[in-house]
C-alpha cells in the first residue's frame, strides 16, 4: 500500500482510538456508578460476614486507606484496572482478569464464528434479492428470515441438541464438554456456533440492511456506466455495496451476539464469558461481572474501530470530514 493511502487511515485511526478511549472511560464510569450505588459497595462485599459492627467496618476501611469520597474511590479503582488489577473473584478467590480473559477468548471464538454463520446465510440471500429483484423466491425467503429471527434461541438450541444426539446419535446424552475422546467432539463445538449464528434474532434485519444498501449501490450511475461499457459490475459494486455494509452490520451486531452468547453458552455449557456472567450474577460476584462488562464493551468498541478503519481504507475522503 502506498504511503498516501495509509495517511488518512492513520489519521482516522488516531481519532477513533481517542473516541474509543473516551467511551471506555465512560463505560468504566457507568460500571463504577452501578456498583457504587448498589447496596453494599464492592468494599463491603469484601468484608461481608467478617466484621459484625459498623464501627469495625469503618475502622478497617480507614486502616486500609480506603478513601471515603466517591471520585477518589473511582480513580483508585480505575488506576488499579489500568495496571491489570480487576480485583479478586468473591466466589473463586482468583484474580478476575486472567479468568475473564481465558473465558473471553472462547466467547470470542463463539461470537466470531456465529457472525460468520449469520453472514454466510444473509449475504447470499441479500445479494440474490438485490440483483434479481422481487420474484417467486423472495417472499418465502423473507418470511423464513422473519420466522428464524423470532425463534427463541434457547429452545432452538435444545432442538438442535436433540436432533444430533437422538436422531443422529452422534453424541452421548450427557451435556457439556465431557465428550473427550469422542469422535465428533469438534462437531459438538460447532453446534453452539451454528445455533447462535442462526438464532441470534438479527438475520432478517441483516438481510434487509444488506439488500437495501446493495440495491442502492446497484442503482448508482457508476454501476450503470460500468454495465454500459461491459466492465465487471461485481468489481465496481464490491467495496461500496458489500464490504462497507457488511463491516457496518458486523460492528453494530456484536453487542447482540454477545448478549445471545450468554444464553447459548448456558444451553450448551460452553465455558465462556456469558456463562461466567450468569454464574456471577447468580452469586452477586461483583468483580467478575464488572470485568466481563468491561471486556464486552472493549469487544464492542474494537468492532466499531475495525469498521471505521475499513470504511476509511475503502473511502479515503471520509478522513477529511
Amino acid at each position: 500500500m502506498k504511503l498516501s493511502a495509509i495517511r488518512p487511515i492513520a489519521l482516522v485511526l488516531s481519532r477513533e482510538l481517542m473516541i474509543t478511549v473516551l467511551l471506555l472511560l465512560g463505560v468504566s464510569f457507568v460500571v463504577f456508578i452501578i456498583l457504587f450505588a448498589s447496596p453494599g459497595d464492592p468494599f463491603s462485599v469484601l468484608l461481608e460476614g467478617q466484621l459484625s459492627t459498623a464501627e469495625a467496618k469503618t475502622g478497617v476501611r480507614e486502616a486500609m486507606g480506603v478513601p471515603r469520597s466517591w471520585y477518589i474511590q473511582y480513580l483508585t479503582w480505575l488506576a488499579g484496572m489500568l495496571s491489570g488489577n480487576f480485583g479478586t473473584s468473591i466466589r473463586m478467590g482468583l484474580p478476575v482478569l486472567p479468568e475473564v480473559l481465558r473465558v473471553g477468548f472462547s466467547t470470542l471464538i463463539l461470537t466470531i464464528g456465529s457472525l460468520m454463520i449469520t453472514l454466510l446465510i444473509a449475504v447470499p440471500i441479500a445479494l440474490y434479492s438485490a440483483v434479481r429483484g422481487t420474484n417467486k423466491l423472495s417472499w418465502p425467503l423473507t418470511m423464513s428470515s422473519y420466522v428464524i429471527s423470532a425463534l427463541p434461541v434457547f429452545w432452538f438450541g435444545y432442538i438442535v441438541i436433540y436432533f444430533f444426539t437422538h436422531e443422529l446419535g452422534l453424541f452421548p446424552i450427557a451435556f457439556g464438554f465431557s465428550t473427550a475422546g469422542q469422535k465428533y467432539r469438534w462437531l459438538y463445538q460447532l453446534l453452539p456456533i451454528f445455533v447462535l449464528g442462526v438464532g441470534n434474532g438479527t438475520i432478517s434485519e441483516v438481510i434487509r440492511f444488506l439488500r437495501q444498501e446493495m440495491g442502492r449501490v446497484m442503482a448508482e450511475d457508476y454501476i450503470r456506466s460500468a454495465r454500459a461499457k461491459g466492465a465487471s459490475i461485481w468489481k465496481h459494486a464490491f467495496k461500496e455495496g458489500l464490504l462497507i455494509p457488511v463491516t457496518e452490520i458486523i460492528a453494530s451486531k456484536i453487542p447482540f451476539i454477545l448478549g445471545g452468547a450468554v444464553i447459548v453458552e448456558q444451553v450448551f455449557n460452553w465455558p465462556g464469558m456469558g456463562r461466567m456472567a450468569w454464574q456471577a450474577a447468580q452469586d452477586r460476584d461483583y468483580p467478575v461481572i464488572m470485568g466481563i462488562a468491561i471486556l464486552a464493551a472493549v469487544f464492542v468498541r474494537l468492532g466499531s474501530l475495525f469498521q471505521s478503519v475499513v470504511y476509511v481504507a475503502v473511502n479515503p475522503r471520509a478522513s477529511k470530514e
Binding site: S149, F154, G259, I263, Y286, A296
Partner: protein
Amino acid sequence: MKKYSQISGEISEFSDLPFWKKADVVDLVYVGYGLLIVALVVVSYILGSFNLLPRDPQDIDLHLMMAPPGTAGRLLGTDFMGRDMLSRLIVGIQAYFLPGLLAILIALCFGTGLGVLAGYRGEKFDTGITYFTNLVDSFPRLVLILLVIAAFKPNIYYIMLVVGLTNVPVISSLVKGKIQFLKQKNFIEADIALGLPTRIIIFKHILWHHCRSLLIIQATLGMAEAILMETSLSYLGFGVQEPTPSWGNMVQSGANYFMQGKFWPSTAPALAILFTILGLHLLGDGLNNILEGKRNT
C-alpha cells in the same frame, strides 16, 4: 431494536389517498397478523388479570402429565406436572405485559427528548448526546442487565427500566434524523418564520405530525424486545420463578424432558414466544412500509 435509515424522499402524508389504498397487500397482511397477535395478547392479559382462566394454572394433576394438545378439557395439553398449558400460557403474559409497557414508555420519552434536543438545538447538545448513545450501545444489553442484577437484585420493573434505557439510542437517532430531514426541507424555518412558539413546533408539528408513525413502530419493536428480554431472563432463572409461569421459565423447565422425546411442555411456550415476536416484528415492519412509505422488497 431495529433502526431504519431515513432516506430522503417525499413526505408521504401529503398525498390524499388513505393509507390502506396506497399500501402493498403483503404489508396489509403483515399488519393484520400483527394486530391479531396484539389483540390476542391484550385479551389474554385482561383474562389473566381477572383470573378468567380455563383452569387453575397451579393445579397439579398427576394422572394427566404431559398430555398432548387436544386432550379433553385441556385444549393445549398439560406440562410435566399435569398443569394446564393454556392457562399457564395466558398467565405467562402477566410476566412481561406491564414491564414491557414500562420499557416502551421509558424508551419513547427519553428517546424523543434526546432526539429533539440533538436535532432541534443542533450542535450544542449533539456531541454530548452522540457520546451518550455510543456509550449505551457499548454494552451488550444482557450483560448490562446481568450487571444490574448482580448489583441490585432488582425486580422485573427495574430490569425493564434498563431495557428501556438501552433502547433510547435508536429512538433518539431516528427522531434526530427526522428533524434534520425536516430542517433540510425548510419546514422548521417556515414554522419559525410564522412566529409559532417552540412548544407548538416541537410537540405538534414535529412530534405529532411527523414522528407519530415512527414512534408507534418503535413501540411495537420495543415490545418485541421486552418480551425477548423477559423470556430470556426467566429462562436464565433471573426473572419470574417457578411455580409462577412465564414463557421463559416454562421453556426452561420443560426442556428437562426434551431428551425423553417429550417436546410439548417446552415447545408450546417457545411457539408462543415465536408467534408473538413474529407478530410484533411484522406489525412494525408492515407499519413502517405503509406509514413511512418505504417498501423495498
